[in-house]
């Protein structure tokens, strides 16, 4: 009995150790012979297959598998590669893809946390809450409320209530195109509108906390540069 082919079995599959000195025709015959001998043990098992000892082309591999399936009832469900180079390549690709996917997921989470747009006017009785920053493309009317874990930007007239910095850092700001809030809260500081004096602010302003007080200043370069907490 020639030993061109050796079969090594384990629970889940078979390894074919092939001689690399003989030609392919001889090899295929050897394989046929080997499996014919053993075919009554295989029945219709599902198995993985692995080739060792000889470099096979895709075509050769295919031929071998076809042969094996022909003469036995085995169902080859996968071919395990022992090529180190290829393994390295696969590993690389898989790991890279996983990392990329994770980064993408992280990014998505970050954007969910970093901001939310709201288009439209918030009217009395409506509350807009966010885990991050909020940008309102519209007005916030009296009786309406914006609650943001971080900063709030109102690209319209703010005459309602706004709570910013609710994550407790106290370093949030509120910007409004026209700043006349009913109440404004940043972190633990609360300020309310003056009871009298109806001079309406129509220039963009920014509200922030410094030394435990809420300051409302015109939105310009100097003020933004001076803001301590952004440094």
């Amino acid at each position: 009995m020639n030993q061109y082919v050796t079969l090594k079995w384990n629970k889940y599959g078979v390894t074919l150790v092939l001689d690399d000195k003989i030609d392919f025709e001889t090899l295929i015959e050897a394989v046929e012979l080997k499996f014919k001998d053993a075919s009554r043990f295989f029945k219709d098992a599902k198995t993985a297959i692995c080739f060792e000892g000889r470099r096979l082309s895709d075509e050769e591999e295919q031929q071998l598998i076809q042969k094996i399936e022909e003469i036995t009832d085995l169902e080859i469900i996968c071919i395990i590669d022992t090529d180190k180079e290829r393994e390295e390549f696969f590993k690389h690709v898989v790991e890279d893809t996983i990392r990329e996917k994770e980064q993408e997921k992280d990014k998505k989470e970050e954007t969910a946390e970093s901001g939310q747009f709201y288009r439209g006017t918030l009217r009395s009785g409506q509350i807009l809450e966010s885990d991050g920053d909020v940008i309102v493309l519209g007005d916030v009317n009296p009786g309406a409320k914006v609650v943001a874990a971080r900063n709030a930007v109102i690209l319209g007239s703010l005459t309602g209530t706004v709570y910013a910095g609710m994550n407790g850092t106290g370093s949030a700001f509120v910007v409004a195109m026209s700043m006349n809030p009913m109440q404004i809260r940043i972190g633990d500081c609360i300020a309310r509108s003056a009871d009298s004096g109806k001079k309406k602010d129509s220039e963009p302003k920014i509200a922030f906390v410094e030394d435990g007080n809420i300051y409302i200043e015109p939105l310009n370069k100097e003020v933004i540069e001076d803001m301590k907490f952004l440094k």
Partner: protein, 264 residues
């Protein structure tokens, strides 16, 4: 123990909130400890009329649900330290509170206030049921219009059905010139139809609009409506006060006052 008064009307827009604000402030001016409760959950107004909107942090629903202590939700008035407001929630609806919860809340407030005045929402649904739940007496507000009177009549019936037998009538927005021309029902006509005790009549006064917009009740001011409301407050305390002569509302002085107001 305080007295619990509900201000109600059935119909909307007849002046419940204005009456609550002015009678409440009047009672506080007379030295009583007063709390106004806005029971119009979802459509709060009393805080705006009182000019206290910017002070609201907690509200009636927060108190009932135990999100805050009662004392935290009470807002002290700008002018009168013995006048307080318990504002309503704007983001909820009437079903957030039950009549039993209102009763319990009012029992608690009765201990420390002389007068508890409840501003009732329009309608006869749950909001109304909540408002009248703990009340001892009612002030029924109406205007001299058939629709308002029809609703007031229904309300008086419902109050009686709910064992609230002490109802007094306030006729709001009387225009004596129209009454004289026969274009408007007179106070007597209204009282005849509704057949309950009249506790006061308030003339239609443009100063009310001004005061509402400014968030300062005009009770106690020189205006006719201000005087009328003050008189109602006095009568609520049990004092005997004769009815004002409302026809003076179109007299020389008020016109003069109007001219000055406009020129300001």
């Amino acid at each position: 123990m305080g007295e619990v008064i509900v201000v109600t009307s059935g119909k909307g827009g007849v002046g419940k909130t204005t009456t609550t604000a002015n009678v409440g402030t009047g009672l506080a001016m007379l030295g009583n400890k007063v709390i106004l409760i806005d029971t119009d959950i979802g459509l709060r107004n009393l805080d705006v009329v009182m000019g206290l909107e910017n002070r609201i942090v907690y509200n009636l629903v927060d108190v009932v649900e135990g999100n805050c202590r009662l004392a935290q939700a009470l807002i002290k008035d700008k002018k009168f330290p013995n006048l307080h407001l318990l504002p309503s929630a704007q983001t909820r609806d009437k079903s957030s509170v039950t009549p039993d919860q209102m009763k319990k809340l009012i029992e608690e407030l009765k201990e420390s206030f002389d007068y508890i005045i409840l501003d009732c929402p329009a309608g006869i649904e749950q909001g109304f049921q909540n408002a009248i739940a703990g009340a001892d007496r009612a002030l029924v507000v109406t205007t001299p219009e058939v629709s308002a009177i029809r609703d007031a009549d229904r309300i008086i019936g419902l109050l009686e059905a709910n064992e609230l037998r002490r109802s007094d009538l306030i006729v709001n927005r009387i225009r004596m010139d129209m009454v004289k021309r026969g274009d408007m029902m007179s106070i007597d006509d209204v009282v005849d139809i509704l057949a309950i005790n009249l506790i006061g009549a308030v003339p239609d006064d443009q100063n009310i609009v001004i005061s509402t917009n400014q968030g300062e009740p005009l009770v106690g001011s020189d205006s006719l409506a201000g005087q009328a409301y003050m008189n109602i407050a006095r009568r609520v305390t049990g004092e005997e006060v004769p009815l004002l002569d409302l026809s003076a509302g179109n007299g020389f002085w008020s016109k003069l006052a109007g001219v000055f107001k406009r020129n300001k």
